[in-house]
Amino acid sequence: MDKKISSSDKVFSASHVAPSPALSLNKLNAGYKERQVLFNINAVFYKNKITSILGPSGCGKSTLISVCNRTLELIPGAGVISGNVFLNGNDIYDTAASAQLIRKKIGIIFQHPITFPASIVENVLFGAVYHQKLTRQERLDYARHHLGIVGLETELINRLHEPAHKLSGGQRQRLCLARTLANQPEIILMDEPCSALDPSAMRHIEELIKTLSKTYTIIIVTHNIAQARRISDYTIVMTNGRIIEQDQTTKIFEKPKRKQTHEFIEGLIG
């Protein structure tokens, strides 16, 4: 597509001994029915690391993470135009790949938390009962365990069987996280998971994300530049559907290679 973008072709500085990649995007172009949104995306997400995606509103962050687990194609007319996404070396867009299995392995938490019209417990168990054999006895414990992880168990101990739509926005966000965790994914994609949380709940989730990164590979879209700096090991900066820079977080923040990156993290653009 655009030949001028070259910095994103060379991924990460050589001095750094890179851990093994979990997910990598190769020359990816994608978009919606009427317009292309992602242009020549090359990116690597490393195993058991946290990668933040930063960029101005509308630059394609949500679109980028939804191509990572084949949820973009659920929107009529949307999808990948060309390029590959490799999960442990296998192209997830290969015709032989099972989209269902990929979505189980790569969980996504959308920008707007959507709960199903069912109880809190049933929401947590939604994917789990599909993918695993759980006896009636095990189910409640399993749900409570995952609610506990996101700090909802004590809060909701007496309301576990209430409809989930009665929860607050922040509670719903955490419920969605619990629901994804209960699915036992390998990679977790999060689209602004803290947008409806107060500072203390946000800290809690940030701590949680750090803990989770011991077990999972985490990719997080955030508008909060300070948050990206606090929690992520790697950072990707995007504008207008292109990656302008990606590197270790410390490098991005301390000595960005591109002027645009510098301007963005200083709050001058976007």
Binding site: K104, I108, F110, I114, G127, R179, N183
Partner: protein, 289 residues
């Protein structure tokens, strides 16, 4: 000067608002009053004849219908709706699932919706004619409960399809994305989320379609109805029905009392049907939201 125009404008706005409020009140009162008047009128004229015997006995007397009751017509109407529903409900819901969940061709969808909407507004006598030509004559089902029931199914299918499809489309996108993104199959999503979520609106449209079908005489006059029966319900025999009975009683000037009695029963069934749905929805919302 400035203050004055402002005042005038505020006054004008107030007048407009008042006029609108009066209009809304009049419309609201008429909207309640007219149906209430009709129901009262039917009740006053129909109530005197109501009795247990009227509700259970077959028509009698000479000319037929001046005595006896409408028992077989009540049974017949319920049987026709049951048959109609058992064909049309599964068919139209499956069709709506297909077109909202599996069909990817936009043009095909536009085409299907257009025809379903046209069919939903076709006058019921045309369904009667079609049912007569296809079922009674071509498939040689004779004038029978089965032929009448299927004709009613033809009439209800587009209505239930359009209503269900619409509620699927409204519920659809984000919930579907959230469910499918957890790696579950489409069928699992349909069973666990889509159908439970849209059940109240599906029930509503089913009941509305049934009530509409139950009230129309035209489609069954040519396909399933008979003026007298002892109340035997068999697929290969014609049945009496409430609307066709009214049509007969009034059309042949047999008995206006009996006609109003029958009308009152029909209206009563419709009111109960609607109340039943209201109750189901209320229970459902209370439990699930």
């Amino acid at each position: 000067m400035v203050d004055k125009t402002r005042e005038v404008r505020a006054n004008q706005r107030l007048i407009t608002e008042r006029c609108f409020a009066v209009l809304v009140w009049i419309a609201g009162i008429l909207g309640i009053f007219i149906p209430l008047y009709i129901i009262t009128f039917i009740t006053i004229n129909g109530a005197p004849i109501l009795s247990w015997a009227f509700l259970t006995l077959p028509p009698a007397g000479f000319p037929l219908g001046t005595g006896g009751g409408i028992g077989p017509a009540i049974l017949g109407s319920l049987a026709l709706i049951t048959i109609g529903l058992s064909f049309s409900a599964p068919l139209s819901i499956l069709a709506a699932i297909f077109s909202s969940q599996y069909c990817t061709s936009h043009n095909f969808l536009v085409f299907v919706r257009f025809f379903a909407e046209v069919l939903a507004s076709v006058p019921s006598i045309i369904y009667g004619l079609f049912g007569y030509a296809l079922l009674v004559v071509f498939f040689d089902l004779k004038i029978s409960l089965l032929a009448g029931g299927i004709t009613i199914a033809f009439m209800m299918t587009p209505v239930i399809f359009v209503g269900t499809h619409e509620s699927f489309n409204l519920a659809n996108k984000e919930l579907q994305q959230a469910a499918i993104s957890l790696g579950v199959s489409r069928l699992f999503y349909i069973r666990k989320v889509l159908l439970p979520k849209t059940l109240p609106s599906i029930l509503t449209v089913i009941v509305l379609a049934s009530m509409n079908a139950m009230g129309s005489a035209a489609p069954i006059l040519l396909t399933g109805a008979i003026v007298n029966s002892i109340g035997e319900i068999r697929l290969d025999l014609p049945v009496m029905s409430l609307p066709s009975h009214i049509f007969y009683l009034v059309g042949e000037a047999v008995s206006f009392d009996h006609a109003f009695g029958t009308a009152l029963v029909l209206v009563g069934v419709l009111i109960f049907g609607n109340m039943g749905v209201g109750w189901l929805k209320w229970r459902y919302i209370k439990n699930d939201g």
